[in-house]
Amino acid sequence: MKSKQAQEIMYTRREMMAVALARQIKDGMVCIAGTGLPLIGATLAKLAWAPNSVIISETGIIDGQMDQLPTSVSDTRFAYRASAWWPRYRYCGFIMRMPEKVDLGFLGGAQIDPHGNLNSTCIGDYHRPATRFTGSGGANGIATNVNTVIVMRHERRRFVEKVDYVTSPGWLDGPEGRKRAGLPENKGPVVVVTTLGVMRFDRENRRMYVSEYYPGVSPAEIADQTGFPIDVSRAVEADPPDAGVLELLRKRIDPDHLYI
């Protein structure tokens, strides 16, 4: 899968992640993305191969044409040349009323389990945590109603058999989990883009497996950094970023290195 030119290009791990995120977006897709790597990935896709993709901020910004990178989901930079900026209740209603209008939502978390259930609330006891995070944000509504792409640092303590707190539901306990719970069955986590590679979920058992490992990473390294047994048998090496895409990332999207 590697091309000769690409091998010669230097890039950072975060750049690789941004590109792996961007690759999840095809032209015309509608995506909910927060700031940071997800927004950088979504912007990259839009500039490089998905000009008709649409980015939504959970503050209710629809289709911002970002010129400078926003630092928060409410940054006016996110709304530059947007089609609308709704009051909060309207976005919340939209996510419940028309989830079929959204193709992907991007999420992050501190812990993830084999079925893609995510913790972004706390480490340790909920009432007296060792580490408390800033809150779930709109992750729960996205995880409930739309297909998700999850961004994670790939570490054993983060890829765990059981998360300390389920902030956003993934496939719950497996293939029948969402149906049993009354959640939309055909929606759930699709991809986990990590610092080491790209994980997907098996259609049968809805368990995470390694789909791609980045150049320079081995499947064994990924298995080693995963705190639960993970299937690496289907893993292939990811294409490295090409020069044009890296140039977009560095010169156009995040020239100030706010995130990469």
Partner: protein, 323 residues
């Protein structure tokens, strides 16, 4: 016509009591009523309950200054400007703050319910099968006993129109005081928000008292020319306070961008108790009022934040922090 104009000091003195439930408009780094919050800290209010949604540094500041007893949380962030919510996080980790967690979809809908006089709002799916549903930050007994809280975090009940379908019933919160910062308000109390409204109109309609601070105090006639652009009529606010740069260091559409320098400074200060105390002294306690705060920041720095047509400062230096 009764004037709703007050000084910031008067507005907080008159309408914010110890133990009140306070809800704050804006969203993380956009149109946050920082000046009103700094005055609450200055006046030493205690035991506040916060109904938060897109909380930012202003809420972290209230917590850090010891004003808050309980926070209903969904999100607290200054975006890329360091890891904010650090005072919140530390207060939770130390067991110094009671808290509840909802999500950022749910809190606006709870505010909306309260604003419309609905006792609750019943939704499909939200929070279901997550610990946001199953594990409550505030014990069920406290919900039953504390008149400041609704009778429960939520209830799972059937849809009466579709027996067998489970819904999440979310109670409307009781809000004593809403704090919002807007672009324009008139003497009579008419309010126009320019740019995104976030949860502000809902907070104004839900709260017993609304304190509005504004960039521009204008003649009512100016706003009454296009009444459909005014979200809050004059019969709603309890107080209007003229506070230019009242949202500093957050953004204010048609006026100014966020102030990265202050955001980064806050990020550094909030990592350490002692530094934090000095930060509070320097930017809140030692300053008599918002006027002194603004003088301290200085016209040059504020002038550099003035937005152009794009509603942000192009190529604003933002990356000088440690984030």
């Amino acid at each position: 016509m009764i004037s709703r104009i007050m000084t910031c000091k008067e507005a907080i003195e008159n309408f914010v009591r110890d133990g009140d439930t306070v809800a704050i408009g804006g969203f993380t780094t956009n149109r946050k009523p920082y000046a009103l919050v700094r005055e609450i800290i200055r006046q030493g209010r205690r035991e506040l309950y916060i109904e938060g949604s897109g909380a930012g540094g202003e809420t972290d500041l209230l917590i850090g200054a010891g004003c808050v007893k309980l926070m209903v949380n969904a999100y607290i962030s200054n975006g890329a400007f360091g890891n904010i919510g650090r005072r919140f996080r530390r207060a939770v980790e130390r067991g110094e703050l009671e808290f509840e967690d909802y999500s950022l979809d749910v809190q606006p809908l709870r505010f909306h319910a309260a604003a419309l006089g609905l006792p609750f709002i019943a939704v499909r799916g939200l929070l279901v099968e997550s610990d946001l549903e199953r594990r409550w930050g505030i014990p069920a007994e406290k919900y039953r006993q504390d008149p400041k809280l609704p009778p429960a975090k939520l209830l799972i009940r059937e849809n009466p129109f579709n027996p067998g379908e489970k819904l999440v019933y979310l109670p409307a919160p009781r809000i004593d005081v809403a704090l919002i910062h807007v672009q324009k308000a008139a003497h009579d109390g008419t309010v126009r928000i320019e740019g995104p409204a976030f949860v502000d109109v809902d907070l104004a309609m839900a709260a017993r008292h609304v304190i509005v601070s504004c960039e521009e105090l204008v003649d009512p006639e100016e706003l009454r020319r296009e009444p459909w652009l005014n979200q809050i009529p004059f019969i709603i606010p309890s107080a209007c306070v003229h506070l230019p740069f009242g949202a500093h260091p957050s953004q204010c559409v048609n006026h100014y961008d966020y102030d990265p320098e202050m955001m980064h400074l806050y990020d550094r200060a909030c990592r350490d108790d002692e530094l934090y105390g000095r930060f509070l002294d320097e930017y809140v306690y030692s300053l008599k009022d918002h006027g002194e705060y603004i003088s301290k920041i200085g016209p040059d720095r504020l002038g550099r934040l003035k937005v152009g047509e794009k509603n942000y400062v192009e190529n604003l230096a933002r990356g000088n922090g440690e984030s």
